[in-house]
C-alpha cells in the first residue's frame, strides 16, 4: 500500500509544466482566440517532440507504454495551464483507447496509427456518443467514432463538421458526421463495448484532472490578486471573508486530489471496475473547480468580470469541461445506482475494493 507518486512521475509532470509555463501564457492563448483555427502548430509540435503524445502508446509501437497513474499529473498540468490544444484528447484519451484495443486484438493497422500518433504525425480525436461535440475536429487527421458498440477509425477528410461556438474561446467544437462502414470498423461487440466504457471513464477522469489543475491556478491567481490589490489601505486578502472564500476552495481541492489519483490507479489496473472511482473523481473535481471559479471571480471583484482579466480563461474552461464526458448528474447517478444495490460492498474495509479483503462473503 503506497499512495505516493514516484520521482519519475513527478519528473514527467514537471517537464510538461515547465514547457507550458514558458510557452502557453494567457497572451498566447488570446492569440489563439483571434486566429481562425485556434490551434498553435508550433506548440503542438513541441508537445509531441517532448514525448507527451507517446506516453500512453505501447513500447512496441514506438511509445513509452506508461500507465494512466503515471500521467495523471500531466493532465492536471494541462489544466493548470488551460492549454487549448487537444493534447489530452489525443494523447490521454484516443491513444489509450487504441492501445487497449491493440493489447486485446493486435493489428498492423492499429500499430501503424499508434506509431503515427506517438510521433505526432497523426492527430486522433474521439467522437464518443456521450459528447455532442468534438473539440478541434478540424485539426485532426483521424476521428475514432463510436457507433453503438462499434469502434471506427475515420479519416478526417471523410467527416463533415458543423461548427458551434463555445463560451470558452479556447475550445473549437464541431458536430462530426460521417459514414462508418465495414472498412472503417476496427472492432465491435463485447470488446467494442468495453473499449468505449473504458474510454468514457478515461475521458471523465481526464476532465477531472484538468478541472483540478484549473482550480489550482484559479486559487493561485486569486491569492496573488488578494495579496497585491489594496482597498481601504490594506491588501484585500487580509479580510477574513476573502480568506475564507479561498480556504474553502483549498479544502475542496485538497480532498479532490486523492480521489482523482485513486481513479487513475484504478483505471490503470482494473479499467473495467473503475466506474465508481471515476465518477467520484469527476464529481469532486468539478465541484472544486466550480467553487474556485465562483470564488476567484468574487475575489477579483469587477476585474474578474472582464474580458481583459485572465480569470475567465480558466473559469470558462471549468464551465465547459464540467459537462463533457458526463456531467455531474450522470456521474452522481452512477454512484447512486451502485450505492442502492444491496450487494454493494460498503464500509471502511472496502476503500480499495474487494480484492484486498479475503473473507468477502458477498460476490458482486
Amino acid at each position: 500500500m503506497d499512495f505516493t507518486f514516484n520521482e519519475e512521475q513527478y519528473f514527467f509532470q514537471q517537464t510538461l509544466k515547465d514547457f507550458l509555463t514558458d510557452n502557453v501564457t494567457p497572451a498566447s492563448i488570446r492569440r489563439r482566440w483571434d486566429s481562425d483555427d485556434g490551434f498553435d502548430q508550433d506548440a503542438w509540435r513541441s508537445l509531441c517532440e517532448l514525448g507527451t503524445s507517446a506516453t500512453q502508446i505501447p513500447e512496441d509501437c514506438g511509445g513509452l507504454g506508461l500507465r494512466f497513474d503515471d500521467i495523471i499529473m500531466m493532465i492536471q498540468a494541462c489544466g493548470q495551464a488551460a492549454l487549448p490544444e487537444p493534447l489530452v484528447e489525443h494523447s490521454f484519451i484516443a491513444a489509450p483507447l487504441l492501445a487497449q484495443l491493440h493489447a486485446s486484438q493486435p493489428s498492423e493497422r492499429v500499430a501503424d496509427i499508434l506509431a503515427a500518433m506517438a510521433s505526432g504525425e497523426a492527430m486522433v480525436l474521439t467522437a464518443s456518443m456521450i459528447n455532442p461535440y468534438v473539440n478541434f475536429a478540424h485539426s485532426a487527421t483521424h476521428v475514432l467514432l463510436q457507433f453503438g458498440d462499434d469502434l471506427h477509425l475515420i479519416d478526417s477528410k471523410d467527416c463533415t463538421l458543423t461548427h458551434v461556438t463555445s463560451v470558452d474561446r479556447s475550445r473549437r467544437l464541431a458536430e462530426v458526421k460521417c459514414q462508418p462502414n465495414g472498412t472503417t470498423c476496427l472492432t465491435n461487440g463485447r470488446l467494442g463495448s468495453e473499449l468505449w466504457q473504458a474510454t468514457l471513464n478515461r475521458g471523465a477522469l481526464a476532465n477531472a484532472a484538468q478541472l483540478l489543475g484549473l482550480a489550482e491556478t484559479l486559487v493561485q491567481m486569486a491569492v496573488k490578486h488578494a495579496s497585491d490589490r489594496e482597498q481601504f489601505g490594506k491588501p484585500v486578502g487580509v479580510n477574513q471573508a476573502v480568506k475564507h472564500l479561498l480556504a474553502d476552495c483549498a479544502v475542496k481541492i485538497e480532498f479532490a486530489k486523492p480521489v482523482v489519483y485513486r481513479a487513475a490507479y484504478t483505471l490503470a489496473v482494473a479499467p473495467n471496475r473503475a466506474d465508481w472511482a471515476v465518477s467520484h473523481a469527476k464529481v469532486s473535481a468539478t465541484e472544486a473547480a466550480q467553487l474556485a471559479a465562483r470564488h476567484c471571480i468574487q475575489v477579483f471583484g469587477a476585474m474578474g468580470y472582464t474580458w481583459e482579466c485572465d480569470v475567465h480563461i480558466w473559469a470558462k474552461r471549468v464551465w465547459a469541461l464540467a459537462n463533457e464526458w458526463g456531467d455531474v448528474g450522470f456521474h452522481k447517478n452512477r454512484i447512486h445506482e451502485w450505492l442502492v444495490q444491496p450487494k454493494a460492498l460498503l464500509g471502511p474495509e472496502f476503500t480499495f475494493g474487494r480484492r484486498n479483503i479475503r473473507d468477502v462473503e458477498h460476490i458482486d
Binding site: R294, A302, G329
Partner: protein, 388 residues
C-alpha cells in the same frame, strides 16, 4: 393585511398588458452593449415614453403616471411577463432619477428628468475609480471650481453603459484638500464634452458593458452640480440605497426566470439529471416568490411612510445569489449543450439566453457593493455587532 389587488390595480394591470401586447417587439433586440442594440433599446425607450410608461412612479409632469409602488410592481410584473426589452437607461431611471427627484433643483428636474423619461438621454454611472472599488470614499477624480464651472480631471472605471450613453453622473473631489468622504460633489457630465475619453471594457461575454472614462480638463457648468458642493457623499449614499434597495432588481425578473426554469425542468425531467436538481428547481421558484413577497411587504411599508433601512443589504445578497442559482440550475439541465454560445440548432436561442444570463449573474455578488460588504453592513447596522 389584504393581499388582493383593488379593481383599479387590476384595471391598471390590464391596461399595461394590452399596451405591451401591441408594442413589445416580436424579435429579441440585440444586446444593448452593442451599438446596434443600444440604438434599438433607445428606440424602445422612446416607444415606452410615447405611452407614458417610461417610469410610471414619476409625476405626470415628468412623463410618468404618478403611480405608487404597488402599481410599479404590477407594471414590472407585466413587463417581464411580456418579455419586453431590458431597460437600457436603468442608471438614469432607477438611480439618478430618484436622486434628482429628492435633491435636484426645479430647473435640474425639468432639464434632466423629462429627457430621461422620454428616452432622449441615456445615462452611465461613474462611482468607482482605479484603486477604489469597494472603497468608494477613496475618490481622487477632481472637480475644481472655476467661476460658474467645474474643471474635471481624472479617471472613472466600471462605468456601466458609458460606451454608448450620453451622460455620466458621479462623485468628484471638489475640495482638493479634503480626504475620504468629505469634500466630494455629485456632478453630471455630458460624455460628448471636450476632454472626455471613453475606453470600453469588455465583460465576460466579450461585449463592452462598462468603460473607463478619462477626464482631461473637462469643463462643465456648475448647473450640473446636484445638491451643495461637498455634499456628494450623502447624496450618493442615498442613490446607492436605491440601488441596493427596492428598485434595481424587480422581483418579476427572477419570477419570470424561475418560471422558465420550471418549464425547462418539466421538459427535461425524464433525462438523467443531477440528483440535486429537483431540490434546486423548487428552491429557485420558492426564493423568487419570497423575494417578491418581501418587496410587496417593503413597498406596503414605504407607502405608509416607513424608510428603507439596512435590510436593503439583505435584498442585494438574496437576489444576486438567487440569480446565480437559477442560472446554474438551468445550465445543469442543459448538460453538455450548456457551453454553446452560438450554433444553428433550432433551440439555440434558449441555450444562449441561459448561458448569457449565467455569465451576467456572476457580476451580481460583486457590483453595487460586494456581498461581503453587504454582510458587514447587515452584521453591523441591522444586527448591531461591533465594528472593530
Amino acid at each position: 393585511m389584504e393581499l388582493i389587488y383593488t379593481p383599479q390595480q387590476q384595471d391598471f394591470r390590464m391596461e399595461i398588458r394590452d399596451w405591451l401586447r401591441e408594442h413589445v417587439p416580436t424579435d429579441k433586440l440585440a444586446s444593448f452593449d452593442t451599438a446596434e442594440g443600444f440604438a434599438a433599446h433607445r428606440e424602445w425607450e422612446k416607444t415606452l415614453a410615447s405611452g407614458n410608461w417610461g417610469m410610471v412612479t414619476w409625476p405626470e409632469a415628468y412623463g410618468g403616471r404618478g403611480c405608487d409602488l404597488i402599481e410599479w410592481l404590477i407594471f414590472e410584473e407585466e413587463y417581464y411577463r411580456a418579455g419586453a426589452p431590458l431597460r437600457v437607461n436603468q442608471n438614469g431611471i432607477f438611480l439618478l432619477g430618484p436622486t434628482l427627484m429628492e435633491y435636484g433643483t426645479p430647473a435640474q428636474k425639468e432639464r434632466f428628468i423629462s429627457a430621461m423619461a422620454s428616452g432622449q438621454e441615456m445615462w452611465a454611472q461613474g462611482w468607482s475609480e482605479p484603486g477604489a472599488g469597494s472603497d468608494m470614499a477613496a475618490i481622487r477624480c477632481r472637480a475644481d471650481r472655476d467661476g460658474d464651472d467645474f474643471i474635471i480631471n481624472g479617471q472613472k472605471i466600471w462605468s456601466t453603459r458609458a460606451v454608448f450613453a450620453d451622460w455620466v453622473f458621479g462623485l468628484f473631489r471638489s475640495d482638493p484638500s479634503s480626504s475620504r468622504h468629505h469634500g466630494l460633489s455629485f456632478i453630471l457630465v455630458p460624455l460628448n464634452a471636450p476632454g472626455v475619453t471613453v475606453r470600453p471594457i469588455p465583460q465576460l461575454n466579450g461585449l463592452p458593458g462598462f468603460a473607463e472614462i478619462f477626464f482631461d480638463d473637462v469643463r462643465v457648468s456648475a448647473e450640473n452640480l446636484i445638491g451643495g458642493e461637498g455634499e456628494g457623499w450623502s447624496i450618493a449614499m442615498s442613490t446607492a440605497g436605491f440601488e441596493r434597495g427596492l428598485m434595481l432588481r424587480s422581483p418579476a425578473r427572477f419570477q419570470q426566470a424561475s418560471k422558465k426554469l420550471v418549464e425547462l425542468y418539466r421538459e427535461r425531467r425524464n433525462d438523467i439529471l443531477d440528483l440535486s436538481i429537483e431540490d434546486a428547481v423548487v428552491k429557485c421558484y420558492m426564493d423568487a416568490e419570497a423575494y417578491a413577497l418581501s418587496t410587496y411587504q417593503t413597498a406596503s411599508r414605504l407607502q405608509q411612510g416607513a424608510k428603507i433601512g439596512p435590510e436593503s443589504s439583505c435584498n442585494k445578497i438574496y437576489w444576486s445569489e438567487l440569480d446565480i442559482k437559477i442560472h446554474e440550475t438551468a445550465l445543469s439541465l442543459l448538460g453538455a449543450h450548456a457551453e454553446v454560445e452560438q450554433s444553428d440548432a433550432p433551440d439555440q436561442s434558449v441555450v444562449s439566453a441561459w448561458l448569457d444570463g449565467f455569465l451576467f449573474s456572476q457580476s451580481g455578488p460583486i457590483y453595487a457593493g460586494t456581498n461581503e460588504i453587504q454582510r458587514n453592513i447587515i452584521a453591523e447596522r441591522l444586527l448591531g455587532l461591533p465594528r472593530r
